[in-house]
């Protein structure tokens, strides 16, 4: 309450500083995507005044098939995020709410986590061979499956933590009211962990959206080529196509940004207010 204003001024100052730090490079990237090569290296750099050109965007999305990569990326990201959230949340719920015999739940949680510890570089080849043998090589399906796998540990651990935070009474009430466990999960628990769910979703989406190595290994033709691989292709043997990469980067960023904007409103104060006495 006291010196309310001065406090909030300070707060704004700090936040804006952080924003500046976060967004300057992005703005720079934006300018690069609109600059001709000569201007990109100008010293001192042109932050604001330069002759903009859409050349690089045209190059990326008209001359090259980045448009198609974008679609593939979108499909893969959305599907894998969806799957991961779905099955991961269920598992998280079980691990948070049931006590398995012989501490099995503990072991499971740890194992699930550990699947994320192995460096992907080494698993890439066996997975490549696996996909070859099941005939999924060079398909979007293969990427969806893989990314679901990558995101699962995260989803499970994240959501498990949030479930543990929710007063158990609420669920009990739901079940006494005759709701099935899953019904209670859907109608009571999930709305209450919306912040966690939102954060998790954003993160999963980002991971699958930007994954590079496996996309590279599993794609054989444009059929399954994702945006990051396409973008990386602009680092050529002799030069780096800064403009095209930035242009693609800008475009790649937008969908996620929109999504983040959309879900961030769920990042609101936890709702267990007034729920239970104690």
């Amino acid at each position: 309450m006291l010196n309310h204003t001065s406090k909030s001024v300070l707060r704004y100052a700090l936040v804006l500083l952080a924003l500046l730090a976060a967004l300057t490079p992005v703005y720079w990237m934006l300018t690069i995507s609109l600059k001709r090569e000569v201007d990109q290296f100008a010293v001192p750099p042109h932050w604001f005044s330069f002759a903009p050109t859409l050349e690089h965007y045209v190059d990326a999305f008209v001359r090259r098939s980045f448009g198609q990569y974008l679609v593939t990326s979108a499909i893969v990201a959305v599907c894998s995020t969806g799957c991961a959230l779905l099955i991961g949340t269920l598992a998280a719920y079980a691990l948070a709410r049931f006590s398995f015999p012989r501490r099995l739940d503990r072991k499971l949680s740890l194992w699930i986590l550990s699947t994320r510890m192995f460096p992907p570089i080494v698993t890439a080849i066996p997975l490549f061979l696996m996909m070859r043998d099941v005939g999924l090589l060079n398909t979007r399906a293969s990427l969806i499956i893989l990314y679901t796998g990558f995101n699962l540990p995260f989803v499970v651990w994240m959501m498990r933590g949030f479930f543990l935070e929710v007063p158990r009474e609420l669920e009990e009430a739901a079940m006494v009211d005759g709701d099935s466990r899953l019904g209670a999960l859907r109608r009571v628990l999930l709305p209450l962990v919306a912040p966690g769910l939102a954060a998790t979703a954003v993160f999963c989406l980002i991971i699958s959206w930007n994954e590079f190595l496996f996309a590279l290994v599993l794609a054989q033709t444009d059929a399954a080529m994702t945006l990051p691989v396409g973008i990386a292709g602009r680092v050529t043997q002799y030069e780096i196509k800064w403009g095209v990469m930035s242009a693609a980067g800008v475009v790649a960023m937008l969908p996620i940004l929109v999504f983040a904007m959309a879900v961030q409103k769920y990042l609101v104060r936890g709702l267990s207010l007034g729920a239970v006495k104690g």
Binding site: V43, T236, Q237, Y238
Partner: protein
């Protein structure tokens, strides 16, 4: 002709995303129009293309009917028998082999063993290093086109010391710009000097000999040259070098022909018409460039070898290669280097041909990647001042020895 390519067929190409790939892409479109054979191009970053192809071919997926290879990769593919021998396919077309128009140095790259062995790939892009320099500055300071490394050094010295504000935008012009990033970059810029100073990777017994007296002299010379290079060159790659040249902040460098067209592109270049290109300078030995050709081969597991071969022959034919040349890729055919139209467009072609014919491949060992990596790290360390030339080369030598040891 017996196997007329029947339309409706599909070929899949793995190409390097870059000018070479783009050229082949264009060609593919034309080919499709002509023959109705659909050509499916898969572009991959240069940094990963090798791994990608190796993995895929080893896994026998048969996904690709044709692949582009940078020549240093070839020994690995050759040794592991992953490619289709071309001669039989050519003979089945009534050719006894590749025609004589190919530059021998380039064609030799596609044979395993080198020069003498069976033919597995045809050269498509005839890169070999050139010495780039700013003729305007050279003229200004009354300097001759350098033919020895010492001349390069003194020229670099003079320009560095005098052109402190000569760059567009008023910056300093560095006499020389080299790339000493670990790995490929450092090695590529070092090899010409190394060879010119009489160094050899391996002695007669096949043992590593980079730390020979000549080697040490060469590296010391490189460091000397480094004094006139922009700060931080120890981490430079081709793009940094290109940027410096295009921005007019450096006067001399070793680089690849692929850059030549850029200098006349106003969207990129601040030095239009000021660049000159020439063959490698020499020292104790005559100058020899490192060759860096792009080859095209047919994987063993391709299911359309015939059709693939048809395309290969077509794409490397004189008239197609001319189109690719017009798109900025140095050819691998003598006839094209001497083609008046092209020479008019690319005045450096004579120089390039000379350089190409006298060029040397990187040592042809399947462990080249590993060796280049280790060697490059120490070269880079020397250039960044972490190690003295002697220590760097000694350590490099032992590492290389280890690698060969493991290979046995």
């Amino acid at each position: 002709r017996r196997n007329e390519p029947q339309s409706g067929k599909t070929l899949t190409l793995a190409v390097n995303s870059g000018v070479e790939g783009d050229a082949l892409k264009q060609a593919a479109l034309d080919y499709e129009k002509q023959t109705g054979v659909h050509i499916n191009i898969a572009e991959f970053p240069y940094a990963n293309l090798f791994e990608k192809e190796l993995l895929d071919l080893n896994a026998h997926t048969g996904a690709y009917d044709l692949i582009m290879l940078d020549d240093p990769w070839f020994p690995k593919f050759g040794k592991q028998q992953l490619l289709t021998e071309l001669t039989p396919l050519l003979e089945s077309r009534g050719q006894k082999g590749p025609d004589a128009d190919f530059v021998p140095a380039s064609l030799a790259l596609g044979r395993e063993p080198y020069q003498t062995g069976a033919l597995y790939a045809l050269p498509y892009v005839g890169n070999s290093q050139l010495l780039f320099y700013r003729k305007d500055l050279f003229a200004m300071h009354t300097l001759m086109e350098p033919v020895t490394w010492d001349e390069v050094l003194s020229a670099a010295k003079i320009i560095s010391e005098q052109e402190t504000a000569g760059a567009p935008g008023g910056g300093k012009v560095y006499g020389y710009v080299m790339r000493a990033a670990q790995g490929n970059a450092a090695v590529a810029d070092f090899m010409p000097i190394f060879w010119a100073f009489g160094g050899e990777m391996f002695d007669a017994g096949g043992q590593p000999a980079v730390n020979s007296a000549e080697g040490i002299a060469a590296l010391n010379f490189m460091l000397e040259l480094g004094k006139y290079s922009p700060p931080g060159y120890a981490s430079f790659n081709a793009d940094d070098v290109g940027a410096h040249l295009l921005q007019g902040t450096a006067a001399i460098s070793i680089n690849w022909p692929a850059w030549i067209s850029s200098f006349s592109d106003p969207a990129k270049s601040k030095v239009i018409g000021k660049m000159e290109f020439t063959a490698m300078p020499g020292a104790k030995n005559p100058g020899r460039a490192e060759i860096g050709n792009w080859l095209i081969a047919i994987p063993r597991d391709s299911k359309n070898k015939e059709a693939a071969c048809d395309f290969l022959v077509w794409a490397t034919s004189a008239e197609q290669m001319k189109r690719s040349a017009e798109r900025g890729n140095p050819p691998t055919r003598k006839s094209l280097f001497n083609d008046p139209e092209l020479v008019k467009k690319f005045p450096a072609y004579p120089a390039q041909l000379r350089s190409l014919e006298s060029s040397r491949p990187r040592p042809r060992t399947p462990f080249w990647n590993e060796i280049e990596n280790a060697f490059g790290i120490y070269l880079s360390k020397a250039n960044s001042g972490e190690l003295s030339a002697v220590d760097a080369l000694n350590q490099a030598n032992t590492e290389i020895a280890k690698i060969l040891e493991r290979g046995k």
